[in-house]
Structures are given as structure tokens and as C-alpha cells.
């Protein structure tokens, strides 16, 4: 396991995707409130630079007695790919509908620094 220090927490403004390079891989790092997410910037669909896309929140739908309701989840950020606009969870890397998963990395904050754990694939 390799741990990469990508800078002080203060360098990561809230709800903003910031691109860093670690071991030759482009990674999108995004602070979302008290959490920090890290996602490899490569779309599992066609290898687009994923983290250059639109940052939004997850959108799900469900039945209710009054009809289908669509819910936006403020605590669940997703990135919409800059190419085909497919969406991936920053937390899990999963696509909105199963079948594709972007690579995510565990993130720790220690001594005010953001540390990304790069594991062997």
C-alpha cells in the first residue's frame, strides 16, 4: 500500500473537484462537507477523463402513494462524465445503474494533510 500526501486540507474547497496526480495517475479529490472523496479520473465506460465532468448530487426515484418521487441526495455527490454524462458515485465509484464502477481510493486526514491510499489494483 502506498500513501500519497496530496496537500493540506485547506487546499480543498468544499464541494469542488480538484485534480491531483499520484504515481502517474490522475485522481479527482473532492471535499464534501466533513468528508473527502478520491476517484480515479478515468471513466470505466470509454476511458474519458472522468473527474473533468459535472459535479452533482445523486438523484434517485421511488414510488410513493402520490406517485413516483425523485429525490436529490445532498450528501451523495456524483460526477457526470465529461463525455457521455454517465454518473458515478464519489463515495463508491458505482455507476447510477449497476454494470460499471470507477476506481475509488480511501482518504485519511492526518495532521491537516490529505492522504490517499493507493492500493495495488
Amino acid at each position: 500500500m502506498t500513501v500519497v500526501d496530496v496537500g493540506p486540507v485547506d487546499d480543498f474547497p468544499d464541494r469542488t473537484m480538484k485534480l491531483v496526480e499520484a504515481n502517474g495517475v490522475e485522481i479527482g479529490v473532492c471535499r464534501w462537507g466533513s468528508e473527502i472523496f478520491a476517484l480515479r479520473s478515468q471513466c470505466p465506460h470509454q476511458a474519458a477523463p472522468l473527474c473533468h465532468g459535472f459535479l452533482q448530487t445523486a438523484l434517485s426515484s421511488r414510488f410513493t402513494p402520490d406517485g413516483v418521487e425523485v429525490d436529490a441526495h445532498a450528501e451523495e455527490p456524483v460526477i457526470l462524465c465529461p463525455w457521455h454524462r454517465w454518473e458515478f458515485s464519489l463515495r463508491s465509484g458505482t455507476s447510477f445503474w449497476p454494470g460499471y464502477r470507477a476506481r475509488t481510493y480511501p482518504v485519511d486526514v492526518a495532521g491537516g494533510r490529505v492522504l490517499i491510499q493507493l492500493r495495488r489494483a
Partner: protein, 373 residues
């Protein structure tokens, strides 16, 4: 460079790449004085939009491109971006430009439409072709004036960088086999240029015919999914009107319609062979035979099935698809395909045909130009 490994390492001909001017001034400057005055007076300024009314399915945040292909100032198609993101990122031998589908010629004034077509062709020949030896281009024509369109094909069609005639407006709202359009096909055949039909382009923007059968859909998702529908009608029309009997060397390139519609469509047409023949004496062969001899399709937007084998199974049920497909990326649009991704979804022995040989049979690539690459 794409981070994908590709099953195909050979040279790539990309038959559908889109280019647009940074500002419309580039076009207006190439109009005759009379039409410059008209544009400026009509719009009240040099940035007057040339696009006539059409169906409106605007994209999320108004961006129809891959986000990284949007230039910093947001204007037009940037050649340097195209070079770094596409031409140099893959082993591209040639790209074939097809404007931003060319809908500016869908003017209600046919004479203005003809002037714009000439300006667009001059613009692409003067500005884009010299930029890189890998660039080739389609030309646009004013289809509402078929004889004028034929003259425009003769005016610029001999240029060695020109590969095809982009039929960007179905001006009469008739399926394209209608004989009113024959002068265009005659001129194209004379110059050995294929006709390129871009999915629903001539219907969506020109709105003389419906882009979708059965009613105008509510969403871009629905409209975009059915981009192939006008193309179906046009191919059936070429068969029924004997277009390929009248112009036996004419080729037709079907752009941006996807692929999975092909088997069902041609099976249905073939099943109607005897009826088509009863109604039209000049239908002498099975529709699928005309199709296989005269038509090819761009691969984009490439269908993605849950299992890779599903799409290939469908193709193989039809048979011979490897001779019909020409790779296209659709760069820089939002739904553009990565060539390596497409290569990895197709059978390996199809790849030299799909990425190069079929396009070489289709586009008019002159010997000298081909040698220069």
C-alpha cells in the same frame, strides 16, 4: 493518449468529425456583399445567428461537446484541441469533417441557402484543409435548388481534399429517393463523391419533414435514440425510386445513426421485395443487395449491450456487417466514441475493414492525397 489498450493498432480513418467556426464572422466574410448586407441588417449585428428555426432539444447546460473539447473562450471547434485530443491521441490516418451537421443551409430563402453553402465550403477548404494533411472534408449543398446544388458540387467537388457531399437538409420534406433530388445524385456520381446523410440532421433543423414517426417526442433522450428513423425512410426511398438503378456508381454514407437497427430494417424491406417490385418496375434486386453494394454506416453512436456478445450476435444474425461499418468518433460531440473502445467491442478480424478499408472504398480519396499521408 487514451489510457485504453486497443485490439487494433493499425491506422484509423474516422469518417465523422465535426468542426465549427469560432464566430459566424468567418462565414459572413465569405458571403457576397449582397448577402453580407442581408445578414447584418437582419440580425442587427455581425453575430446574427444563421440557424433557422428547428426542433429544440438543447443539451444539459447548453454544451453539446465533450467538456474538455470546449475551447477556453467557448467558441467553435479548436484545431489544437482536436489535434491533441484526437488526431495525435490515436493512430489517425484521416478524419472526415462534416461541419456541425451543416444545418445553416436550412434557410427559408433558397438563394440565401445557396450562398451560405458556398461560403461554408470555401471556409472549410481555406481554413481547415491546410491545417493538417490528415484532414479531409465533406461539402454542403443547397438541396432546395437541386440544379444549384449540382453546380456547387462541380465548383468545389473536384478539390482533392473533398470526400463526400453532406446532404444536410431535406428541403422538400420528401424521402431522399424522390426524383426532385436526382440532379444532386447525378453530380455526386460524376465526381465519384458519396452522399453522406447525417442522422435526422435534415429533418430536425430544417423541419420540413418529421424527425420521428408517430409524433414529436418530449425529450432529447427519445429524439436522440431515434436518430435513425429518417435514414430508414431515405434508404427505403432510394430502393423504391430506383436511385441506385439510375446512378449505379452512387454511394451513400449513413452517419451517426448507430447500428443495431440494420438487421430488422433490411429484413423487413426484403420481405416487401415483391410488393416494392410490383409498385416500381425498376426494383430489380433485393433491397439488402442494393444496401450492401451502395451503403455503409458510421459506427457511432456505438450500441453498448450488457454482454459484449449480444450486439455481435445481432450483427451475425444479419451477416456481413464487417463490410458495412466505417469507424467514426463524432469528435468533439458529447456522445463521441473512443476508437479503442469500439475496437475492443468488435471481432478482431473485422478491425482492418472497419477502421480503414471500408472507408477507403467509400470516401473519394484521390491517389495523390492518399500517397501524401
Amino acid at each position: 493518449m487514451s489510457t485504453l489498450r486497443s485490439a487494433y493498432q493499425g491506422p484509423i480513418i474516422d469518417i465523422d468529425v465535426h468542426q465549427r467556426w469560432r464566430t459566424v464572422d468567418e462565414l459572413i466574410d465569405r458571403l457576397p456583399q449582397r448577402w453580407r448586407d442581408y445578414v447584418l441588417a437582419r440580425g442587427g449585428g455581425p453575430r446574427a445567428a444563421l440557424m433557422p428555426a428547428g426542433l429544440s432539444y438543447p443539451f444539459q447546460r447548453g454544451v453539446n461537446k465533450r467538456l474538455e473539447a470546449v475551447p477556453e473562450d467557448g467558441l467553435g471547434t479548436d484545431f489544437e484541441l482536436m489535434r491533441s485530443q484526437h488526431l495525435d491521441a490515436y493512430p489517425i490516418e484521416l478524419v472526415n469533417l462534416s461541419f456541425d451537421i451543416g444545418h445553416e443551409v436550412t434557410q427559408r430563402n433558397p438563394v440565401f441557402s445557396a450562398a451560405i453553402a458556398r461560403a461554408m465550403n470555401d471556409w472549410v477548404i481555406e481554413t481547415w484543409l491546410p491545417r493538417d494533411t490528415r484532414i479531409r472534408t465533406t461539402i454542403v449543398v443547397p438541396s432546395e435548388l437541386p440544379d444549384e446544388a449540382a453546380r456547387e458540387i462541380h465548383r468545389v467537388g473536384a478539390h482533392p481534399g473533398v470526400t463526400a457531399v453532406l446532404f444536410s437538409w431535406n428541403a422538400f420534406g420528401k424521402p431522399l429517393g424522390h426524383p426532385v433530388y436526382d440532379p444532386i445524385y447525378r453530380a455526386a456520381e460524376e465526381l465519384a463523391l458519396p452522399i453522406a446523410i447525417h442522422g435526422a440532421a435534415g429533418e430536425t433543423e430544417g423541419n420540413m419533414a418529421h424527425a420521428v414517426a408517430g409524433g414529436i417526442p418530449n425529450s432529447r433522450l427519445e429524439w436522440h435514440t431515434l436518430l435513425q428513423q429518417p435514414t430508414l425512410t431515405h434508404v427505403a426511398s432510394f430502393v423504391a425510386h430506383g436511385t441506385f438503378e439510375k446512378f449505379p456508381r452512387l454511394k451513400v454514407l449513413l452517419l451517426e445513426t448507430g447500428l443495431a437497427w440494420v438487421p430488422n430494417f433490411l429484413w423487413r424491406l426484403d420481405a416487401h421485395y415483391r410488393i416494392l417490385r410490383a409498385e416500381s418496375d425498376w426494383v430489380r434486386r433485393l433491397p439488402s443487395e442494393y444496401f450492401r453494394q451502395h451503403c455503409k454506416l458510421s459506427t457511432q453512436p456505438f450500441e453498448l449491450t450488457p454482454r459484449k456478445s449480444q450486439l455481435i450476435e445481432l450483427f451475425e444474425a444479419f451477416g456481413g456487417m464487417d463490410d458495412l461499418l466505417c469507424f467514426s468518433s463524432d469528435y468533439p460531440h458529447w456522445d463521441a466514441d473512443n476508437p479503442f473502445f469500439v475496437a475492443n467491442r468488435l471481432p478482431r478480424d473485422w478491425l482492418p475493414k472497419v477502421f480503414r478499408e471500408n472507408a477507403r472504398q467509400m470516401l473519394r480519396l484521390t491517389e495523390t492525397e492518399a500517397a501524401a499521408v
